[in-house]
Symmetry: C2
Subunit: 100 residues, 2 copies
């Protein structure tokens, strides 16, 4: 989850609600992330220093806009590598053994 959020914030800063929409769009509607997952995750990522946030008011609505920090970008790079290794490992174990 954390890596996904960092990934959508890589291109441009977004607020929580927009992040949820971005995740849905990028996944072709597959990913349906509830607010109870995203908002705690954002706070967690900010506390860790991977994100920074600012309040803004747009059209009478308050938004908390998050942006990726340098630290967060570095972490994202590591997560991408780890994801690739993870997929290879799990895929290798899950793969059916041919009997011959």
């Amino acid at each position: 989850m954390d890596a996904l959020i960092l990934a959508v914030l890589e291109d441009a800063p977004l607020h929580g609600y927009a992040i949820i929409e971005a995740l849905q769009e990028r996944s072709g509607g597959t990913l349906n992330v509830p607010t109870g997952t995203v908002y705690p995750a954002l706070r967690r990522l900010e506390r860790t220093g991977f994100l920074a946030s600012e309040w803004a008011t747009v059209g009478g609505r308050k938004r908390r806009t998050y942006r990726l920090t340098a630290s967060g970008a570095g972490h994202l790079a590591g997560e991408r590598t780890a994801w690739g290794e993870f997929v290879r490992t799990i895929g290798g174990v899950l793969q059916p053994r041919t009997e011959s």
Copy 2:
């Protein structure tokens, strides 16, 4: 985790300890699953009906050998499909956007 266990039991029935070794072997040593993960998982899978077990004594040591049920095999097939979709979805979101 559950799918990984089902996968290693697809070829032949194994007992808990052997499952841990099989997971390590298949992953090239990457996967190091502690007993506190495997044994509860095995009981869970048996309770669900995906596995069945029998006690055996080999060389003075007691073994509980688990085998895949038909239900478990069906579940494994579904999990493999789900894994593929999951990888595509996450990979798609995680993938860096080229700016052009």
